[in-house]
């Protein structure tokens, strides 16, 4: 364990720790471009040079490992001059097209120029012309090689993380350009990360390009609901300038570092899977009769629904089935169980959410496309297809009167059971969910729910890690989070529930389900906790 001094501060680090990492631990930030903690060390940008006593030349802090007794200086005049000159070199052939560059505002050239550059330009020469200007290199990424600083992060990502090897550096000297090998395309399942790791505007995200300037984005930590991995993400939304990005609110998702879950990465399916938040939403409660849909306000809808439902719970509760979803949060599942099982005594409370087959890899992607199957399991809800089919067969035979479906598209999941007809024929059918699907098209009562981006709560990933999702936006239109819908039903049914927040629900849940014992939102924190 070497002990060294960086800018007069002493630190002891693990053997093999690089200077830049040790400095980070001390809160000393050393600028860098090519270094990325998730990739191999290239050492080419030369931005992280520092002075080390007894070493004749400045050293790159991303590569040099700490030695006992080392004395490092990161703020000397020499170091400052070196940074300034590296920046000047990097900008010699950079187009400085910031006003029309989508990276502006999160560009490391801009940021470091303001922090470490601030020199007068003395460039009188023409710039070297590069070949690729706004060239799509795959479905997700646009290449602008004149903006590239040749840090080789993209090359290393495709070589080392996805191992797909699409990128290379072509030509030599200041004619070097990054690019895709001939007859290849950047179309791997993690291609969006290339835009994240590009420190400049050379690789931009085709989905996000020109939708919104980054400084208008409101960022909220959350968890991707796309599969059972639960990659940590940031939801980036534009709420103040609705005229941008054709009125959509969520502009993009970005991965958020969590070395226990997703490192720095996320898959493209998750990254671009946010469109449902602002599209095809169920905006208002509604009632369908004889094929006619009538929109209602929440009071009317709940009252109308409960008139029938209340009577059923009194007379024939064995003929009611409630189908919950592993898309729901722990809190929502807990409340649903409390209402339907504990308070009302309904037996047929089942979990629905079938997995598509295949599509799992070594990196992040899980074949289970539901974020909270493990949480449901901990709350005693395990999906059994046979039980669901049994319930649907009973409905077919007229032995079931009411079917309440949370979120899942039952019609598509059980094509042989003719669910669309059942939903119409039953005495009572309801769909509680955020977006239109075949099930919502047939159900008699429709209650619009918030998406994950519009509510708080927790999910439990496939490894048993409990993680928090947080409200990034208000619900679009009239939807309410499922927990609020459940609380509203409970209240109108005469139950007195005390919850003021999701946290209070969680605290109660953690006392009742052994896996969650002792957990609090505070303990879960930003990175989640494995149970």
């Amino acid at each position: 364990m070497p002990t060294l001094k960086i800018d007069e501060k002493e630190i002891t680090v693990e053997k093999g720790t690089t200077i830049i990492r040790a400095a980070e631990k001390l809160g000393i930030s050393i600028p860098y471009y090519c270094w990325h903690p998730g990739l191999s060390i290239a050492g080419n940008c030369r931005m992280c040079l520092v002075e080390v006593e007894k070493m004749p030349k400045p050293q790159i802090s991303c590569h040099i490992q700490c030695q006992d007794g080392m004395v490092v200086h990161t703020q000397t005049e020499t170091v400052k001059k070196l940074r300034q000159h590296v920046l000047e070199f990097l900008l010699v052939n950079h187009p400085l097209d910031c006003p029309v560059c989508d990276q502006a505002g999160e560009c490391w050239l801009q940021d470091y120029y303001m922090k470490h550059g601030l020199y007068e330009s003395r460039l009188d020469e023409n710039k070297v012309k590069k070949s690729a200007k706004a060239v799509p290199i795959g479905p997700t990424i646009m290449l602008d090689s004149e903006r590239c600083i040749l840090c080789s992060r993209c090359v290393r990502f495709s070589d080392e993380i996805t191992k797909t090897g699409e990128f290379g550096i072509f030509n030599r000297g200041d004619h070097s350009e990054i690019g895709i090998y001939p007859d290849r395309e950047l179309n791997n399942k993690y291609s969006g990360n290339e835009a994240d790791i590009c420190p400049v505007g050379a690789l931009t995200d085709r989905d996000f390009r020109f939708k919104c300037r980054v400084w208008y984005l409101k960022k909220t930590d959350s968890v991707c609901p796309g599969c059972a991995r639960g990659c940590n993400i940031t939801i980036e939304a534009n709420l103040e300038r609705p005229q941008h990005g054709s009125g959509e609110r969520v502009m993009r998702l970005k991965p958020r570092f969590n070395d226990d879950v997703n490192d720095w990465w996320m898959c493209d399916a998750g990254r671009y899977g946010y469109k449902f938040i602002d599209h095809d939403r169920i905006m208002e409660p509604a009632y369908r009769k004889d094929g006619q849909l009538k929109t209602l306000d929440w009071n009317e809808a709940v009252a109308g629904f409960l008139t029938i439902f209340r009577a059923m719970t009194a007379q024939s509760k064995e003929k009611i089935a409630v189908l919950l979803s592993p898309q729901m949060t722990n809190e929502e599942l807990y409340l649903a169980k409390r209402l339907f099982v504990a308070e009302l005594g309904i037996k047929k409370v089942l979990l629905v959410g079938t997995n598509p087959d295949g599509d799992q890899d070594e990196l992040l992607i899980r074949s289970d496309k539901h974020p909270n199957r493990k949480g449901a399991e901990y709350l005693g809800l395990i999906e059994e297809k046979s039980s669901v089919i049994k319930v649907l067969n009973e409905a077919e035979k007229g032995d079931l009167k009411a079917l309440l479906v949370f979120g899942q598209d039952l019609v598509s999941l059980y094509p042989d059971q003719k669910v669309d007809h059942l939903l119409q024929q039953l005495s009572l059918s309801a769909f509680i969910g955020s977006n239109h699907n075949f099930t919502s098209e047939q159900a008699q009562w429709i209650f619009p729910a918030a998406t994950y981006a519009e509510k708080d709560g927790t999910c439990t990933n496939f490894e048993g890690r409990v993680q928090r999702i947080q409200k990034a936006l208000p619900p679009l239109g009239e939807p309410k989070p499922e927990s609020e819908i459940l609380m509203l039903l409970a209240e109108r049914l005469g139950f007195h529930w005390p919850y003021q927040s999701q946290e209070e629900i969680f605290n109660e849940l953690s006392r009742s389900a052994p896996q969650f014992k002792g957990l609090t939102y505070q303990k879960i924190g930003k990175e989640g906790i494995k149970v």
């Binding site: 060390i41 290239a42 050492g43 080419n44 940008c45 030369r46 931005m47 040079l49 030349k57 400045p58 590569h63 001059k81 070196l82 000159h85 590296v86 070199f89 990097l90 010699v92 052939n93 003395r122 460039l123 009188d124 020469e125 023409n126 070297v128 600083i149 040749l150 080789s152 290379g168 550096i169 030509n171 030599r172 000297g173 200041d174 004619h175 070097s176």
Partner: protein, 420 residues
């Protein structure tokens, strides 16, 4: 003065095995493999003060001693025959005229370090040297001088020739290794050094053609004799490639302590047309240029370093009074800009930027502030990059500007050749 390597340059068909054998070729290796211990060869080479003659000038035996012998991995010998330093053509002579001497040196080096596989990375443009080398390797294999059980000694050495594709940077030893592995010739971050992690991740000895070619002489006649030929810490002799405006350009094998003046005036016949000497590049294009009044310097690595330049590859480029330093520097910097691999920001952008400024000046559009800007840009060009290309470019560049500043100033003022 006695000639060692260059003695063979004058023998007809010394490139053939039969002639080489007539000159007692392979006798040293044969005897060493039968009678000597590997560690004795290594210590002989170390004591001989043989320096790396590719350009870095590192003690050859010392370099061998860094190689770990018991890692369980194979150790490789890589011969750097990618002679690309402008003004240097001595390896070409060895490869063309006496390739068996290199092979004999390789056998001795391989035996000393415990190596059974060697690669010769030869410059792509070297057509005849390649053909002669290939012929030599085939002939040596046929005679049992390479391959399994060399000379019946039980020692094996396989030799593979690999042709480069025309990049100067592939002569940088780690760029060479990358290229040899089939990758783009990007020099590697160090540490680890190739002695520990080299070719295919294994310990590797990389030596220049000329360096290896001196080893048979050292083993034959002893380290003490060889060391005494040179100066205190620079053993033996080296091949100086002399070009430019001299009467007799060529390769001259001379002791390391010889003065530059003697090389130019005694051996290369002085300046063509009996013009005045203006400047000399003493060790390949990457070395700092010397003015006419600096040529009494001794041509060993240490003396040249003390004089602010370097021994480098031994490429001596002589310029007479008619030479424009502005044009000479422009050509020099064009070379570095063209050959920078493009990895490190200062080298990639700096060499190209300087090249464009010099071109503007040559085109008569220089500005008074250009010189100070150039000096400042040059100050940050080298010393901070992965390999030594930028260091060489910087050393050469700054030396022209500093030593011939008034010529540059005058050129910028007049907008045309100052000497005309």
């Amino acid at each position: 003065m006695e000639k060692l390597i260059s003695r063979f340059f004058e023998i007809q068909k010394a490139n053939t095995l039969s002639v080489y054998l007539e000159e007692d070729g392979y006798e040293v290796a044969k005897r060493a493999l039968r009678e000597m211990k590997p560690e004795d060869i290594e210590s002989e080479v170390k004591r001989s003060n043989l320096r790396g003659l590719g350009g870095a000038g590192f003690n050859c035996g010392m370099k061998w001693s860094f190689v770990p012998r018991n890692t369980g991995k194979p150790i490789y010998l890589v011969v750097n025959a990618d002679e690309g330093e402008p003004g240097t053509f001595k390896d070409k002579y060895i490869l063309e005229k006496v390739p068996h001497l290199l092979l004999e040196g390789m056998i001795l080096a391989a035996f000393a370090v415990g190596i059974h596989k060697a690669y010769i990375y030869i410059r792509g443009e070297y057509e005849l040297p390649f053909l002669r080398l290939q012929e030599a390797v085939e002939a040596a294999y046929a005679k049992g001088f390479l391959g399994k059980n060399i000379f019946g000694s039980g020692f094996d050495l396989e030799v593979v020739i690999h042709r480069g594709a025309g990049a100067y940077i592939c002569g940088e030893e780690t760029g060479l290794l990358e290229s040899l592995e089939g990758k783009k010739g990007f020099p590697r971050l160090k540490p680890p050094f190739p002695a520990i992690v080299g070719l295919f991740g294994c310990p590797t000895v990389i030596n220049n053609v000329e360096t290896l070619s001196y080893i048979p002489f050292i083993i034959k006649r002893g380290s003490e004799w060889f060391a005494k030929l040179g100066t205190e810490r620079n053993g033996g002799m080296r091949l100086f490639s002399v070009s430019g405006q001299v009467k007799k350009p060529g390769v001259y094998e001379l002791p390391l302590g010889i003065s530059l003046r003697e090389i130019i005036y005694t051996h290369a016949g002085g300046i063509r047309g009996d013009l005045k000497l203006k400047a000399v590049v003493p060790g390949g294009l990457s070395a700092a240029i010397l003015k006419a009044d600096e040529i009494d310097v001794k041509m060993d690595f240490d003396s040249l370093k003390a004089a602010g330049t370097m021994g480098g590859s031994g490429g001596v480029v002589v310029m007479d009074e008619a030479m424009s330093m502005v044009e000479a520097l422009r050509v020099t910097m064009q070379f570095f800009a063209h050959e920078s691999c493009g990895q490190c920001s200062p080298c990639r952008e700096g060499t190209g930027w300087i090249d464009r400024i010099l071109n503007r000046i040559i085109n008569g559009k220089g500005r008074p502030q250009d010189l100070d800007n150039l000096l400042d840009i040059g100050a940050y060009l080298g010393g901070t990059t992965i390999c030594a290309l930028a260091d060489g470019a910087q050393m050469a560049f700054l030396s022209y500007l500093r030593k011939f500043r008034s010529e540059f100033e005058e050129f910028i003022r007049k907008g045309s050749y100052a000497h005309a």
